[in-house]
């Protein structure tokens, strides 16, 4: 008979198997394919030969690496903005909404009921020359003509992705804020701390692990984002993820696409590791 530990391991087996087959294995395949030599379609019947040709090809094209730098910069800006904007929402849900918290939480999650593509397309209408934002600006007399920068630009990508990610970012912050013992705040008040002081010296530090989780939840997928840039980014909003997509689809070069993916994966892992090392989340959490 299985002991408690054995039963737990048995129960954990399906998700581990799922991850192994549908996450770990594909990642390993991508790493392996990135070392194949073909510039075009791969013939998997050919003998497997090890080659650094794809990495050399990428190294010799500085534009790809510049796009990676730009994508990281955009992802940092989007993640920071989405986290900052999500924080007040999460704070309201945790401390002010009281018995209506569930209702507001459902409101927050309602956008997820709408297709991601539709939400991005809606922003295309909002940011267009005759869209709501330009129309309001002109009606208020702030501008006399539509602002071209709003649509088909990196700015459009940043605005749209911040909108998309705010509800996601609010959830881990909300969870962190909910875990804060109210007694800590009462103790701080008893010791003479005012509302601002309690917020900055008690609430913020104790909720930082949630905020950091929110930041990385946004940052990591945004580095490789390609759907939103292709819909609202125009020629200048083309991100590193679009290069990967192009190599897998248009150029039909899975080997180059895989090498680009491996580079992005490694860079993201390094950035996350460095950030976590600097921030020391465990100390914050304790």
């Amino acid at each position: 008979m299985l002991g408690r530990r054995g039963a737990l391991r048995f129960l954990a087996l399906p998700p581990y198997l799922w991850l192994a087959v549908f996450f770990v294995l594909p990642v390993l395949l991508i790493v392996a394919i990135s070392f194949r030599p073909e510039a075009g379609p791969i013939d998997f019947g050919d003998p497997w030969t090890f080659s650094l040709a794809q990495y050399q090809r990428i190294w010799e094209t500085p534009a790809y690496l510049r796009r990676l730098g730009m994508s990281v910069g955009m992802a940092l800006a989007i993640a920071a903005s989405a986290t900052l904007l999500a924080y007040p929402i999460a704070y309201f849900l945790a401390f002010r909404a009281r018995e209506r918290a569930v209702f507001f939480l459902i409101l927050l999650l309602i956008p997820f009921a709408v297709s991601y593509l539709l939400r991005v397309m809606a922003w295309r209408l909002m940011l267009g020359g005759e869209g709501a934002i330009n129309s309001i600006f002109q009606w208020l007399g702030i501008t006399s003509a539509p602002i071209d920068l709003l649509l088909y630009s990196p700015v459009a990508v940043v605005i749209t992705l911040i909108y998309v990610w705010i509800p996601f970012a609010a959830l881990p912050i909300y969870a962190a804020l909910q875990r804060i013992e109210r007694g800590h705040l009462e103790a701080a008040a008893d010791l003479g701390a005012g509302p601002w002081s309690r917020f900055w010296r008690v609430t913020v530090p104790l909720s930082l692990p949630g905020a950091i989780a929110a930041f990385f939840m946004v940052f990591i997928p945004t580095v490789g984002e390609y759907v939103t840039p292709s819909l609202v980014g125009g020629t200048e909003g083309y991100m590193y993820g679009n290069i990967i997509q192009d190599f897998f689809t248009r150029a039909a070069s899975w080997a180059t696409g895989s090498a680009l993916s491996v580079i992005m994966l490694l860079l993201t892992l390094v950035l996350v590791a460095v950030a976590l090392r600097l921030i020391d989340v465990r100390r914050l959490a304790s």
Binding site: P41, T235, R250
Partner: protein, 352 residues
């Protein structure tokens, strides 16, 4: 004491039953078809004749985003029975043994396809593909904003910065550059390709965006007036005309480009006869007619094209201009090496 039953017996019985079932099915084709298509062509209005003739057949679709993607999917082992692509890639399918010869004697609508169109699907005397949709590529422009366009170089004209939309396609960019420079697009040298790359990098800021879906991010913006000059197909031209937009479709001195959509049957298909019926029905009157009237593309059935009497469609297809074919550049076959080099070049242009 009753004899114990051999535990393997039920298993053997099930196995034998399975073998019998399989053997009874041997030789019969499955009543289902998988088509590797371009998004939008999965709607039943694009295959009504087949649906009427085969109401119980399950037709499923998977999609490719462009010719390179469709070729890659077939090469990677797609289970599609039928696939749809455009001229230029024919030889690659034959070289990679991805396509099966078509028995045209079983196509009831084959005689309605003109001989020169039939020939587009032949390689080494064998009919590997059937032509279906066709059209031109040229420059669509807003006549209120742009004087008459007479050359492909209008796409690189800085006067229209922010209002140009090039198609997001490397081979198309190479073709346009070859027309402008008078180069043979089937023999582009490395130096010429480097020049083409430089030219399109310089052109990049002039675009409002690169379009990749005719009816999603090209036509609406041509009609709204945001796009003044675009690489375009006749479908968008006709749509804009129907909407009353002030547009014209150029006849550049270098000539228009012309393309034809082709269907092939996969080498690995288990549904060859059904696939033939599907292709035959594609050429039937209702299906072809819908393509012409709803999508404003030409169809390989010349009887359908002869019946076109709408002036907008006649204009879009240049059916009133018998000389248009004399100055039209038909899309030549592309080699695998060129395709790889051209698409990689375009990715570099976009990344700059």
């Amino acid at each position: 004491m009753p004899a114990r039953m051999n535990p393997a017996r039920p298993l053997l019985a099930m196995l034998a039953g399975g073998v019998l079932l399989l053997s009874s099915c041997a030789g019969a084709e499955p009543n289902e078809l998988l088509v590797l298509e371009w998004a939008g062509y999965d709607e039943e209005r694009w295959w009504p004749d087949f649906k009427t003739a085969n109401p119980d057949t399950a037709v499923d679709f998977e999609f490719g985003t462009n010719d390179a993607d469709i070729l890659a999917k077939m090469g990677a082992g797609s289970e599609a029975d039928v696939f749809h692509f455009y001229t230029g890639y024919e030889q690659l399918y034959v070289d990679e043994e991805l396509v099966r010869e078509i028995d045209t004697s079983k196509l009831t609508n084959w005689d309605a396809v003109p001989a020169d169109m039939q020939a587009l699907g032949q390689i080494d005397g064998k009919q590997y593909f059937i032509p279906w949709d066709w059209g031109f590529s040229s420059i669509l422009y807003n006549t209120d904003e742009v004087p008459e366009v007479t050359s492909w170089d209008a796409l690189l004209n800085e006067d229209y910065a922010g209002h140009i939309a090039m198609w997001d396609d490397g081979p198309a960019a190479v073709t346009v550059s070859a027309y402008i420079n008078g180069w043979d697009e089937t023999a582009i040298t490395d130096e010429q390709l480097a020049q083409i790359e430089e030219d399109w990098i310089a052109q990049k800021p002039l675009n409002i965006h690169y379009w990749d879906s005719e009816y999603d991010n090209l036509c609406p913006e041509v009609i709204s007036g945001d796009i003044w000059i675009a690489y375009a197909w006749p479908g968008c031209y006709a749509t804009a005309l129907f909407e009353g937009a002030p547009v014209a479709y150029a006849n550049p001195v270098e000539g228009r480009n012309s393309w034809v959509g082709l269907y092939g049957i996969s080498t690995d298909t288990d549904s060859y006869e059904l696939a033939l019926q599907f292709l035959d029905a594609k050429l039937a009157e209702l299906t072809c007619g819908t393509l012409v009237t709803d999508y404003y593309y030409g169809c390989a059935n010349e009887e359908v094209m002869a019946a076109v009497d709408d002036p907008v469609l006649i204009e879009a297809f240049a059916l009133n201009d018998p000389s248009v074919l004399e100055t039209t550049n038909f899309t030549p076959p592309v080699t695998a090496e060129d395709r790889d080099a051209w698409t990689a070049m375009w990715t570099r242009v976009k990344a700059e």
